[in-house]
């Protein structure tokens, strides 16, 4: 039961996949900095090739969206950003993802209790 409790509220891991950045319309790295500051100790942003990810984030420098070439931006648990103006949507996605993950953990904790 103890281990289930630990899952609630722990740092989630988001895999980040970038486009190459040939001519970006915004600072893609700054997006990650902003997210780190916004979700301090709640999300850990790692390379997309790592295991046990809670979500996948595609960061594109422009609408060409090259980062998604080898992935599915519409797949479950993934989000693609192609402009700075999409940052609020991205934050909303992470917030929702966090709530969902926490609820799932809570459900699992409850089932374990049952």
């Amino acid at each position: 039961m103890k281990s289930h409790k630990k899952k609630i509220g722990i740092e989630k891991r988001i895999g980040v996949k970038y486009c190459g950045g040939c001519n970006p319309t915004y600072d893609r790295i700054q997006v990650i900095r902003q997210l780190r500051s916004c979700f301090l100790n709640r999300f850990h942003f790692v390379l997309s090739n790592q295991k046990t990810l809670n979500g996948l984030l595609f960061i594109n420098g422009c609408q060409r969206s090259c980062a998604v070439e080898n992935g599915d931006p519409n797949g479950p648990g993934s989000f693609s950003i192609s402009g700075e103006n999409e940052l609020p949507l991205l934050i909303h996605w992470l917030t929702t993802l966090e709530e969902k993950e926490n609820n799932d953990s809570l459900d699992s904790f409850r089932s374990a209790d049952d």
Binding site: G20, C22, N23
Partner: protein, 480 residues
Amino acid sequence: MKPITTQKDYIQSLKELRHVVYYNGKRVEDVTEHPALRPHINAAALTYELALRPEHEALMTAVSHLSGKKINRFTHIHQTVDDLIKKIQMLRLIAHETGSCFQRCVGFDALNAVYMTAYDIDQKYKTDYFEKFKKYLLHVQESNVMVVGGMTDPKGDRSLSPSKQADPDLFTHVVQRRTDGIVIRGAKAHMTGGINSHEILLMPTQAMKEEEKDYALSCALPLNAPGVILIFGRQTNEERKCEEGFDAGNTQFGLVGGEALIIFEDVFVPWERVFLCGEYDMAGLLVERFATLHRQNYGGCKGGVSDILVGASALAAEYQGTAGASHIKEKLAEMMHLAETLYSGSVACSAMGYKTPSGAYYPDPLLANTTKHNVTRHIYEIARLAHDIAGGIVATMPFHGDMESSEVGRYVKKYLAGAQGVSVESRMKILRLIENMSGGTALVESMHGAGSPQTQKVMYGRLGNLEQKKRWAKRLVQID
């Protein structure tokens, strides 16, 4: 040799190279410590460093078709049209970081040109150049060495062919064939990144005739081989690189590539590093392929460098209070139009690229030539507009030392003040950057790098499909 991965590895490898480099008549013991050479080294070093950053990995790296391993894209053989396009995107990306030439594309293009041509030579002559070249390529991919592509010979009297020159060494040639290899003599001029490359991949400078078999030569050799001497080319405002302060304009990365005259004084090359030797009728094809692959680049790197110049010009206008003027906005728009036109050409010739018999992909040669031809014009126009926006102060501004002076610094700060809230230092830095990027060596490089405009015009005659154009015109007005 330990594979070069990081910027630090690269710098260390140059320290250990111990090649013979001369700067202003003096031997340079360690190129990495020389203030005039270091900016060019810094620019090339970024081709290593950016490949390690996740945010640039998609462009800066590729998968080797030989080993299946992840490699630096500068050592890759284009396997698809997408590879050709990614090359251009990569060049624009790096130019945004350096604001100057980062040199490594020359070797990249040489590797691709020799790869596809060695295959064709073997098909015709049943030689074994292709297999030898693949082994060499694997070495380059695994060690990640920087290779300078060596094409341009000094050429002496341009009205005479190589074999008719008063001095036969004005074109690089074979002077001795041995059982274990060849001995070469001659020189290659304008070698971008020469002083900070590890190896050179030589190609002939032009098509050759039967009596010029010894000049039909392609081979690779380390730049620290006995008999190789490098002499650095003096650039505009060369001494400023040796000063403290910001007067050099781009203090970190310098100005264009840092070119060298590379001399081969009876240099031995083993047979396993020889990829063309005497098959004179294939020299022209190799030259054309290298030229096309190199001309393909220019809208990428010059497009990226122009982005910096546009940004600097816009800042200069802001700093001196002219940004709101309609003519300034119009000029900035024109600069952007020209830069994007260059980039469009590079993307277009890449998108229209095709597979060669070797399997390697090759850009459309007519469009690649057109792109480079545009560079010989548009970069001058972009620079002209930058000068127009920045004003005469670009040419008359006092030294950085004057600004720092305890005696006259206060006058410089008082009389070079611009828009309110902008420091004089910021204004001076931007103006020096514009000066660095828009005059002298920077312009000449756009004119002659990857071939002078006439070499591109020659290609219109060959590839421009003029007879078909005449037929279309005749058909339209019903002329038989």
